[in-house]
Amino acid sequence: MSEATLHEERTAASVRLERVLIALAILALIAAPFFVYPIFLMKMLCFALFACAFNLLLGYTGLLSFGHATFYGAAAYFCAYAVKDWGWPPEAGILLGTAGAAVLGLVMGFLAIRRQGIYFSMITLALAQMFYFFCVQAPFTEGEDGIQGVPRGHLFGIVDLNVTLNMYFFVLAVFLIGVFAVWRIVNSPFGMILRSIRENENRAISLGYSVGRYKLAAFVMSAALAGLAGATKAIVFQFATLTDVTWQMSGEVILMTLLGGIGTMVGPVVGAGLVVGLENTLATSGFPVTIATGLIFMICVLVFRRGIVGEIYARWLSPGGGRNGA
């Protein structure tokens, strides 16, 4: 994936511009629920966090997981079950979902990192499908119906999440914490080692890094953050269903990241917004979503591999300016 992600040397001006844009974006998100349908925004934020978590693995470690729906969906199930059947408060449910996703990530990652490249992707896909079949049969997932009617409850026993705006600002906080975590991981010494693995795994090995452990750690972190997104989603929509663990869901998060820009901080957020928006539009038009998704995939891969945000960086914000774009 290195070809699409090599735009890390940036000018001071572009860094300053980026900070201003991020501040503006956060302000816009705070103001947004007063203008846009909050449920739609919350869906978008959950998917955006999911895509950022996925991008931690694909964009910064160079591992294409085709099984991330497992962590998103499993965390939704754990959280929904704990909140509904055990009467746990929402924040505890979300923490349980996140922890559960991390454990699943440990198991799947341990198996998948034994092979590289394309095999890694196929193994994650196969294990995710196995988890899907498990969910179809396991009694606690309630089969085709899913776990429905999950109470939103009171956050820390005080804030009533049944009030839409309270719910929205809680989701926004979770989203910002999650994205900040990704940003911290990526820009830490640990993140630098992940990038070196992405660029040249053999060289990282010869420098003495136990690449396997770093990959596994990145996989678990990515899984946990994907779980955070999934568990939050379960509280927002008050259900957890099989849809969240299908391979189509794994494909969707790949699409969001690819469309927005692999290996950029903002790209997956933009991609998630576009894909969720597109799906909402198509839902009323009768045009099949799968065809649209597939076409975007093909177009992105053929002409648009850096994604929207990646193209913007490459054309206007990199030291070379527009000269070496495209």
Binding site: L111, R114, I118, Q129, M130, T293, V301
Partner: protein, 312 residues
């Protein structure tokens, strides 16, 4: 415990001797093994096509399941709209799917060879979504029955079990296809070009072999194999837009177990895992969907390169 053991022991030898194995009727056991063998035939044909394409193009063809479904659907539509029966379809369907595959390779995949192989996976994933989406849009998700050709209708009593003729034919046909493809690649001049180009494309090109054409033909061959598997599958399973997407993931697991280094490995692993699935259905039906993936996980733990693989 002892009493139960003795009871089953006595039933085994009283009356119908040899009809029970481990408390399972022989009929059921053989029946499920046949189902397993049929599934295995399709795993083998599809993983063979994946291995052929991956060997030369270094692309994992996610659209393989969609091409399989495409083949079954073309056969079904030719029968319904044009009155073209099963036997001509057996030739025409692979041709159509093969030509479609070659067009895809020329127009799109050929632009991706210089990139990370993951882009090939993502492109073919998108292609699979589009093909599946188009058929879903026009034909819905329900299955369409495809009649067994009259020559192969009915069944044969083998004495120990009843074998539907068509299922026997599928097993034989898939063996012929697999062995034929293996011979084509290992024993013919074209196959030797293909193997040489897998090892070192630049050198083969320098010897005057048209490597880009070889790449196109290889993808076409892989696609045609998927189409052929599709039309063979049409009378066994229902023809539905969803028939390919779930299958392809199992085939990926097969490919991980077998390793894509060897054509023969892909074939043998396909049949073995099909049989394993059939046997699981007899002894522990709940796990029959999972068993291929569990075997994959065990192989990854014990022999990460796959049973027949050289690690890529």
């Amino acid at each position: 415990m002892l009493a139960i053991g003795r009871a089953s022991f006595s039933t085994c030898f009283s009356g119908d001797a040899m009809t029970m194995i481990f408390g399972i009727p022989v009929q059921a056991l053989l029946g499920q093994m046949l189902v397993g063998l049929i599934n295995g035939s399709f795993y083998a044909m599809l993983s063979l096509g994946l291995a052929v394409i991956f060997g030369l193009l270094r692309i994992i063809n996610f659209a393989h399941g969609a091409l399989y479904m495409f083949g079954a659907f073309i056969g079904y539509l030719m029968l319904v709209h044009l009155g073209i029966g099963y036997w001509p379809a057996l030739v025409l369907v692979p041709l159509v799917v093969g030509v479609f595959g070659m067009a895809v390779e020329r127009l799109a995949l050929s632009r991706l060879y210089r990139l990370d192989p993951l882009y090939g996976l993502l492109f073919t994933f998108g292609l699979a979504l589009v093909i599946e989406g188009v058929f879903r849009f026009y034909y819905g998700v329900s299955g369409n029955p495809y009649a067994v050709p009259s020559q192969l209708a009915g069944g044969t009593n083998l004495g120990f079990m009843f074998l539907p003729n068509y299922r026997g034919w599928v097993v034989v046909a898939s063996l012929i296809v697999c062995i034929g493809t293996w011979l084509l690649i290992e024993k013919t001049r074209l196959g030797s070009y293909l193997r040489a180009a897998t090892e070192n494309p630049e050198l083969v090109q320098a010897f005057g072999v048209n490597v880009p054409l070889l790449l196109t033909l290889t993808y076409g061959l892989g696609a045609a194999l998927a189409g052929l598997a599709g039309i063979l599958a049409a009378p066994v399973y229902q023809v539905s837009p969803l028939m390919g997407s779930d299958l392809i993931i199992v085939v990926f697991a097969v490919v991980v177990v077998g390793g894509m280094g060897s054509i023969l490995g892909a074939i043998v692993t396909g049949y073995m895992l099909g049989l394993a699935e059939g046997l699981t259905k007899v002894f522990y039906p709940e796990a029959s969907n999972l068993v291929v993936f569990v075997i994959m996980a065990i192989v990854l733990l014990l022999r990460p390169a796959g049973l027949f693989g050289r690690d890529a």
